[in-house]
């Protein structure tokens, strides 16, 4: 899922400085799971902003709401009424949600309360790691189900590099060497011979490098 984390409160307060009444909109999907922008987080953040503004002698009114998802146009209906009476929306959905809010409620500013960081999963409660680089050309079948683009610091396709030590990446003891993981897994499933083949240069054009991507499914268009 998409993992995000809240922006520093100073940044958020700065964005909201010119406003007296806003909608604080959470999202019920990914950001709820990574506890950055769900219903609970809406409540906590709203209280914090109100308290900080009260302390500064410049109170702010906050309408709180959590949409089913902020990444689909049909759910924007849920915010329609609330948006009529506010000056702006602080969205604590991922970057996609903020953009859809901005696009849907075109005449009012939409501010991002989160920094959307990566595609990943919770390793354990409260610990999230990056797993997918959305490169548009998946090679997981070659690497035993471990993504070398997202999980190797250098996105090597013929790793490891010389910096792999004790299963850790040279950049930090907190980062596993993806190629050690790949080696172990290919060994476990009896496919070590995959590693003797040279994987040719990646066609990055399918990735963001080729420009913003778009998929059109004619079979789905009404």
């Amino acid at each position: 899922m998409i993992i995000a984390e809240q922006k520093p409160i100073e940044e958020i307060l700065e964005m909201l400085a010119p406003h007296k009444k806003i909608l604080l909109a959470g999202c019920g999907a990914c950001v709820t799971v990574c506890q950055a922008g769900g219903e609970k987080e809406v409540g906590v953040l709203a209280s914090q902003i109100r308290m900080a503004r009260k302390e500064a002698g410049n109170p702010i009114e906050i309408v709180e709401m959590t949409l089913t998802r902020q990444c689909e146009p049909e759910f924007m209906e849920e915010a329609k009424d609330a948006m009529k009476d506010v000056e702006a929306v602080l969205s604590i959905a991922c970057g996609i949600g903020v953009q859809l809010m901005a696009q849907t409620f075109y005449d009012k500013p939409a501010y991002p309360g989160l920094n959307t960081t990566f595609l990943g999963l919770p390793e354990e409660h409260g610990v999230f790691t990056e797993r997918c680089a959305a490169c548009g050309n998946c090679v997981l079948h070659l690497t035993g189900g471990i993504c070398p683009i997202a999980r190797c610091s250098k996105s090597l396709l013929n790793g490891p590099c010389g910096g792999s030590q004790n299963g850790k990446c040279e950049i930090s003891q907190d980062v596993d060497c993806a190629w050690q993981l790949i080696y172990d897994r290919l060994k476990a499933i009896g496919k070590l011979e995959n590693l003797t083949e040279i994987i040719p240069p990646k066609k990055w054009i399918t990735s963001r490098d080729g420009g913003p991507r778009k998929i059109v499914r004619e079979d789905l268009r009404i």
Binding site: K154, L156, N158, G162, S164, E170, I171, Y183, T196, I198
Partner: protein
Amino acid sequence: MDYQSGRRTEENRKGGPSDMKSGSNLEKVLEKGEFAVTAELGPPKGNDVEVVYEKAKYLKGVVDAVNVTDNQTAIVRMSSIATSKIIMDLGLEPVMQMTCRDRNRIGMQSDIFGATALGIKNCLCLTGDHQRFGNEIDSKNVYDLDSIQLLSVLKAMRDEGKTLGGEEIEGNIKLFLGAAANPFGDPFEFRAIRLAKKVKAGADFIQTQVIYDMDRFREWMKMVRDLGLHERTHIMAGVMPLKSGGMARYMAKNVAGVTIPDEIVKRMVAAPKGKGAAEGIKICIETIEQLKEIEGVHGVHIMALEWEHRVPEICEEAGLLPRPS
């Protein structure tokens, strides 16, 4: 000034009269079966050529070629291609290092056109230390290719006269291709297989990471010989003289890919004050003597960064002088 011929003729294509890949001095020494010696030169953090002259003067005549590092540890330095040309003009032969960290395939192939046009004949292909180690940690990550893919690309440029994208090259790329190897990295069982991949991709010569642990290195060489790799590529063993007990302890603990046996650390630490450097040189020379005896080791690569003035004595004491040619 020495410029590579721009036109491809039957003579200077692959398989020409000399059958040399580049005709470089390093290639000649290795092909003749002589024990080769290379050293390293780190360019300045700027354009002060005096720094280059200072280092280069010690290396002239005592080594067969000099590696010019490429923004090593992601610290911005004068480019390897420019520094290589400067030392060529001083009469030294460069081994231009090229990492995958800072340039994409367009930039790298372009640099190879330029480097070979300037007369550079040796190129060492490296992945490159991650930018987090350096002094521009916010930079965008490139790594369009990895070192193995880079080797394949340069080999195809040389042997087939084509770029990765399939374009015919206007001219003739002649390069002696090198790669790095780490006998001490993990996973250990995989290291020889990875070396095989580099050889398959086109590595004509290999320079290893610094060696202090002779036993482990011998183990690795055995795996390498078992795969027949020592006959398909020239392996040069990396050595680095330790300067002090502190340096020994630091490297043993902190530098990825470097193992230093306790007895060597002990020797360095036990050396009397002011005598640490001498002990380090002594250990380096002993290491070189032992390396000469190992089957499949065709040369030594001396990494004495910021200590270039000690290279002549190391070569002298280790019986490596005079150099052929």
